[in-house]
């Protein structure tokens, strides 16, 4: 029989993940039944909690706070060791002393999104009504819901206005939602590699991922926690498909080409002969160690529903009318998931609203994920934009670079 190796099962036990969902290795803001999160679907979610990390110090004026909004498959562990994987934070290249998001100048906050699985209430959290994981009983959430929850967190932290809201991809969508919903609370905004609405192609890729999860027999209509299983194969396939969309043909070619993995000749099997196959399988299997399958369904859905213009009579510029927020929009040349044309459409709408906007397209062959990688041109822009925003807000940002 032809040799086949399937995706390995996660080495971190489901219980660790379940524990992290309810009792995260992060600071937690709890909201009781008297403080419900009003969801777009019409449901009041209560009680609920938000898990968040902070870096740096809030100044006396409470004017140096920057909110980072994380992307679909990331979490609040921006610049610290990840509690499940033990790996470095996902944006340590950007956040830290003397980094563009300088922790010696700014107070940096990142919270796990509502619907996530790292400590903010989501489908992996325990439903107080049943004592079991929410699973598919969790209400469908949207990007505006995520932002509403973040606004409640900022109220709790007594931060009225953010110096900047920054994020890439799904994080960028949240940034845009922040400016549309709470323009007066956002002094400057840095949306990266994102769009004001999810495209048909992107919805299609998400549907592929969701169907992969739901086709896994271990998914059990989202009840896998109770049955002590996990649809890790389906989720890994979803991640593999997603990961391809985060890269580019040129990046894959440069990184792997048609090179073989630990062999010189094809094995005439379905084993991972090619390095690119081996890489994707690794991406898939490491993802399932830290991510909840149902959470993936909910968060992809939230992105699919996102369309700022639709909430403003179909006119995007309407969403930003009279806005005072300073914008810096960034896209990457090889990003085909959120291509530059989408950022340009945003910039045109902002121009039509007379917003103060900068826009830079950065040349790189690394695809959508470029915002997470070492792209000095992007760092320089982020650093300069934050410095000028800080200066305009009367912050002393003279120290350091």
């Amino acid at each position: 029989m032809t040799n086949v190796t399937s995706i390995s099962s996660p080495s971190i036990h489901s219980e660790d993940r379940a524990h992290e969902a309810d009792h995260p290795t992060s600071t937690v803001a709890k909201f009781g039944i008297d403080q419900p999160l009003k969801l777009d679907c019409g449901i009041d979610l209560a009680p609920f909690q938000i898990a968040y990390q902070t870096y740096g110090e809030l100044n006396a004026d409470r004017s140096n706070a920057i909110l980072i909004c994380h992307a679909l498959t990331l979490d609040q562990h921006v610049a610290n060791v990840h509690p499940l994987t033990g790996k470095a934070g996902w944006w340590e290249i950007m956040v830290g002393p003397d980094r563009p998001l300088d922790t010696e100048k700014y107070f940096i906050i990142c919270s796990n999104v509502i619907g996530g699985c790292m400590g903010s209430t989501g489908p992996a959290s325990t439903n107080p009504a049943t004592g079991n994981a929410w699973g598919l009983d969790f209400p469908v959430i949207t990007i505006p819901d995520m932002v509403r929850a973040q606004a409640m967190l900022l109220d709790r932290l007594e931060i009225e206005t953010l110096l900047c809201v920054i994020g890439g991809s799904m994080g960028g969508m949240q940034v845009l939602q922040w400016t549309a919903a709470y323009p007066q609370r956002v002094f400057s905004a840095l949306p990266v590699a994102c769009s004001t609405r999810h495209s048909a192609q992107n919805i299609a890729f998400h549907e592929l991922g969701r169907q992969a999860v739901m086709a896994d027999p271990e998914w059990h209509h989202g009840r896998y926690f109770e049955l002590n299983t996990h649809p890790h194969r389906g989720l890994a396939v979803a991640r593999m498909a997603g990961h391809i969309t985060y890269l580019s043909d040129a990046a894959l070619h440069r990184k792997f080409g048609r090179r073989m993995q630990d062999r010189d000749l094809p094995t005439f099997s379905f084993d991972a002969d090619f390095q690119v196959e081996s890489y994707l399988r690794y991406q898939g299997s490491s993802f399932v160690e830290r991510f909840d399958a149902n959470s993936y369904l909910y968060l992809t859905r939230a992105m699919d529903y996102f369309d700022i213009a639709a909430d403003h009579e179909g006119v995007l510029a309407q969403a930003f009318r009279g806005i005072k927020t300073r914008f810096c929009v960034v896209s990457f040349t090889s990003d085909w998931l959120f291509p530059t044309s989408e950022s340009r459409a945003l910039v045109h709408a902002l121009n039509a609203s007379s917003a103060r906007v900068s826009f830079a397209e950065i040349e790189t062959d690394r695809g959508h994920d470029a915002f997470l990688l070492d792209v000095p041109e992007f760092f320089d822009i982020a650093r300069a934009f934050l410095q000028s925003a800080g200066k305009a807000r009367g912050l002393d940002t003279s120290k350091g670079g």
């Binding site: 103060r356 906007v357 900068s358 934009f385 000028s388």
Partner: protein, 222 residues
């Protein structure tokens, strides 16, 4: 047009040898009252925009080169990457008090359309360009039989970004044709000094190395 072509004298003018700012920039800045909202089309590395902002003017920019945009953002300016030929259509009517096109007109594919857009987006436009009727240019073509090259326009015909040269006289004619009113006109000589106002047009067209024009929309039915 690349940043280098914007900042080096290639498509532009010699820097002011005495002060910090280029004379044509100072000339432009002097035409705009504080508090105005301004769009600088082809803003290069943001030198003029920064000068304007330092004088209390709310400035925005469009620049085609990535390097230029990045340097502008680094200066804290609001600049978007874009192309004068294709992106001006996306700006709404009357969005700005002034739209500036500094040493860029000759590098656009459709100068007439660009000029019309400038005065649609802005209530006034300030346009500066190198004058191809400058005596040195004429002399080179007449005597040398070559396409002219000067200190300020050193590119050869085959590698120049400037594809639509005109003379001051030509520009005045275009403004007439599209019903654009000329509120102020200044010709600068090779050293960036204004050619005296009292001299007739043909002198300007001969001795002006570049022209700086403050334009507004002509009356209805002209």
């Amino acid at each position: 047009m690349t940043l280098q072509e914007q900042t080096l004298p290639l498509g532009g003018v010699a820097p002011d040898r005495t002060g910090k700012h280029r004379t044509d920039h100072l000339m432009v800045a002097e035409m705009i009252p504080a508090g105005s909202k301004v769009l600088d089309v082809g803003c290069g590395d943001g030198e003029l925009l920064q000068l304007l902002e330092s004088r209390g003017i709310d400035g925005r920019g469009i620049e085609i080169s990535r390097e230029g945009v990045n340097r502008c953002v680094a200066r804290g300016l609001a600049v978007v990457q874009g192309d004068a030929d294709t992106d001006l259509v996306n700006y709404p009517d009357d969005a700005f008090d002034y739209v500036i096109l500094s040493q860029t007109l000759q590098a656009t594919r459709q100068p007439k359309v660009v000029l019309e857009n400038l005065l649609r987006i802005g209530r006034r436009a300030i346009v500066s360009f190198p004058n191809f009727g400058f005596w040195k240019m004429r002399l080179q073509l007449l005597v040398g039989g070559h396409m002219p090259r000067t200190e300020n326009l050193p590119a050869t015909w085959y590698d120049t970004p400037n594809i639509h040269f005109c003379t001051i006289k030509d520009f005045v004619q275009l403004c007439d044709e599209i019903n654009v009113k000329m509120e102020r006109a200044v010709a600068l000589d090779l050293y960036g000094r204004p050619v005296p106002l009292t001299l007739p047009w043909w002198v300007w067209n001969m001795f002006g190395e570049q022209g700086v024009f403050l334009l507004s929309r002509g009356g209805v039915g002209k």
